[in-house]
């Protein structure tokens, strides 16, 4: 390890220690467990800064935070999977003995022999650990993929096809009382006839051109190609608006982290 790296790490440990002591001292009047609380806040701030250090370049502090995060979260989700799915959902429905063992309320009224099917498929999945019968683990996988495809076919047919088509049945002439009336009452008010009509025209042509862009069976040339280009332009404008909207959301996440550093850790803002 380079001397500079060692010096930086020692410096960081010293700063961490000082911060812990100062934070604990500042918490003595507010909580009994001020040393533990002080450590928790200082460590959270330290990890936050470790992750932010990636903006400079990959470094040992980032690696430490990354490996800690991955290790702790992998163990957490493993534990959650067992306690929420198997102990929380399965055992109370199938076995009184095991329910008593794990101290969870038994629900005999919810018993259903079909619950053993996922148990069986789960065991088959684990068989891939065996070299001899590992091929059996493909069956539950095929079951998952097949049922997913089947379920989603109807779900997407309804939500992405039928609902979208019926939502596009919009009148291109809104409150129509003749061309003379339209021009004599022309207004750019957001609740006016012109804006309502313009909005419906955009929806109609936008959807139609968008579908044409995603039509793969025909070369995009001529009128079809023109419509396809309009389709991709409409998509890009939509993405642009979505980009700005989402970036604003991300900024609020950054503000949250900075607030934590300056308020909870450094107590610079009240």
């Amino acid at each position: 390890m380079k001397r500079t790296t060692v010096l930086v790490m020692v410096g960081a440990i010293v700063i961490f220690g000082i911060s812990w002591v100062l934070k604990s001292m500042s918490l003595t009047s507010t909580t009994d467990h001020y040393i533990a609380k002080g450590f928790a806040i200082t460590f959270a701030a330290f990890l936050t800064l470790c992750i932010f250090s990636f903006l400079y370049k990959d470094n040992p502090f980032y690696k430490f935070a990354e490996h800690l995060f991955v290790g702790v979260s992998a163990a957490f989700w493993m534990s959650m999977g067992f306690w929420s799915t198997i102990v929380g959902n399965l055992i109370p429905r199938v076995s009184e003995t095991l329910s008593n063992y794990f101290k969870v309320p038994y629900h005999p009224e919810s018993y259903n022999p079909f619950y053993f099917l996922p148990v069986f498929l789960g065991i088959l999945l684990l068989l891939r650990l065996s070299r001899k019968v590992g091929w059996v683990s493909r069956w539950p996988l095929a079951f998952i993929v097949g049922t997913t495809a089947g379920f989603n076919f109807i779900r997407y047919l309804r939500s992405d096809f039928i609902e979208q088509v019926s939502a596009t049945f919009v009148p291109l002439l809104v409150d129509w009382q003749g061309i003379g009336h339209f021009f004599s009452n022309l207004s750019l008010s957001s609740t006016g006839q012109f804006v309502a009509m313009l909005s419906n025209w955009v929806i109609f042509f936008g959807v139609l051109c968008g579908i044409i862009y995603f039509f793969f069976s025909k070369e995009h040339k001529g009128v079809f190609g023109g419509a396809s280009k309009i389709g991709i332009w409409i998509l890009m404008i939509t993405f642009g608006a979505s980009f700005g909207y989402t970036v604003m959301g991300r900024i609020s996440l950054l503000v949250g982290r900075i607030t934590f550093l300056f308020k909870d850790w450094l107590s610079l803002i009240s």
Binding site: Y62, E66, A74, I144, L173, T246
Partner: protein
């Protein structure tokens, strides 16, 4: 032959059981309460009771609902009405009655939900006067909610599924018979060969990220399908692939896919389980690990295909910072802008699902893609006709156009 006989017998029994379930004539659960005979439950006679109380099964559900309807009290008038509220009571099996709803004057129906189809239910509807005197109707006969196996309300949905499914099968068969099916060029996929070739020339690995959702998401399925084709080419070029995943099932499926691709390419000995590694289910823990892999191993090509959320820009920006060629694709509209901004090629929405067919050129996949195009053609025609009908119907009140509009609205109803 034996298999055929067994299959036929099994199907016959299955169809017989199914049809007897569907077409069996069961006594109608509809019961009319005899309101004229029973007046003994009347507590205080200040308003007339509701009459013709009917309870019948809610059609096409899982046996969880019953419909009640009645003729309101004759004292329930719009002007100077004496009824202040209707109270609906339920008697489950032989238990005591319980109040389940209070309805405003003018009500003449109610749907009782979240019932158990193994229990029997009886109902009473009370008309309540302003002085809180209840006048009860007679109690209905016991009724059990019935479960229906087929929801006939979704007949049009079934028809559409049949047309699109039929088109897929037709085009698959056409392709198998040797008919050449045309698919237009997709820019992002044209770059796949080039991207893998670049990684081979540079001697660097290819990083493949299949999103952060499990195998029950279609985008993950699409990513794994594309992986089969990409892995085949990687095996051909003898390049390295690195695939960190956030779900254990995706790891299993990806390993199987890459293994099969290496076997098909004639290089089974080059395959290793280490090509695919599980990281963690935690979204940002996974992102931290993938970012670390990117900056340390510096892959020449990064594939970001599947379902992505807030991590999309973090991954794409890190990939961009190391100078990798990035091919991204997702069907999540909120994440597409980030991929378009930070990646070299982006598969937008359905292009991701078309990619596997496009890359493989297999009859089954191409037929499926063409079948979906039939669905899109139907959508375009229906939208065109629907918009014309709604516009003319609304603007000039043309009966024919209004009828067309009503017909299309019924067919494309989501109920």
């Amino acid at each position: 032959m034996r298999l055929l006989i067994h299959t036929t017998l099994f199907l016959s029994v299955f169809i017989f059981i199914g049809s007897s379930r569907i077409f069996s004539v069961e006594p109608s659960p509809q019961v009319q309460a005899d309101t004229l005979v029973n007046t003994a439950d009347t507590v205080g006679v200040s308003v007339a009771p509701v009459t013709s109380l009917l309870v019948d099964d809610y059609k096409y559900d899982n046996g969880e609902q019953l419909n009640l309807s009645w003729v309101p009290s004759i004292d329930d008038q719009l002007i100077d009405g004496k009824v202040s509220v209707y109270r609906v009571y339920r008697i489950t099996n032989d238990s005591t009655r319980e109040l389940i709803a209070e309805l405003p004057p003018g009500s003449n129906s109610f749907t009782d939900k979240n019932l158990n189809r193994h229990d029997t239910y009886r109902y009473i509807v009370a008309a309540v006067s302003a002085s809180d005197d209840e006048v009860l109707s007679t109690t209905t006969e016991p009724v059990q909610p019935q479960r229906e196996w087929i929801n006939f309300r979704r007949g049009y949905l079934f028809l559409l599924a049949l047309i699109i499914g039929g088109a897929v099968i037709y085009y698959i068969q056409s392709a198998r018979r040797g008919k050449k099916l045309f698919v237009r060029k997709i820019a992002g996929l044209e770059a796949v060969d080039e991207a893998i070739g670049r990684a081979t020339e540079m001697g660097r690995p290819i990083l493949y990220i299949p999103g952060i959702l499990d195998m029950d998401d279609v985008q993950t399925l699409a990513a794994i399908t594309i992986l089969g084709r990409v892995a085949h080419q990687i095996a051909d070029y003898d390049t390295k692939i690195r695939m960190p995943v956030s779900r254990s099932l995706v790891m299993t499926a990806a390993r199987e896919t890459i293994k099969t691709a290496y076997q098909t390419a004639g290089r089974p000995d080059q395959y290793s389980d280490d090509m695919v590694s599980y990281v963690t289910d935690e979204q940002f823990g996974y992102v931290a690990a993938v970012d670390g892999i990117m900056v340390r191993e510096k892959p020449a090509t990064v594939f970001l295909l599947g379902a992505f959320f807030a991590e999309s820009l973090i991954l794409a920006e890190t990939g961009n910072s190391i100078g990798a060629i990035q091919i991204a694709g997702t069907a999540r509209p909120a994440q597409l802008p980030f991929f378009i901004a930070a990646c070299d090629f982006t598969l937008i929405g359905e292009e991701l699902f078309a990619a596997s067919a496009y890359l493989s050129g297999e009859p089954k996949a191409l037929g499926s893609l063409k079948g979906q195009d039939v669905g899109k053609a139907i959508a375009m025609i229906v939208i065109l006709v629907g918009v014309i009908a709604v516009t003319i119907g609304n603007a000039w009140d043309v009966k024919f156009m209004n009828d067309v509009k009503d017909m299309l609205t019924t067919i494309f109803s989501t109920q």
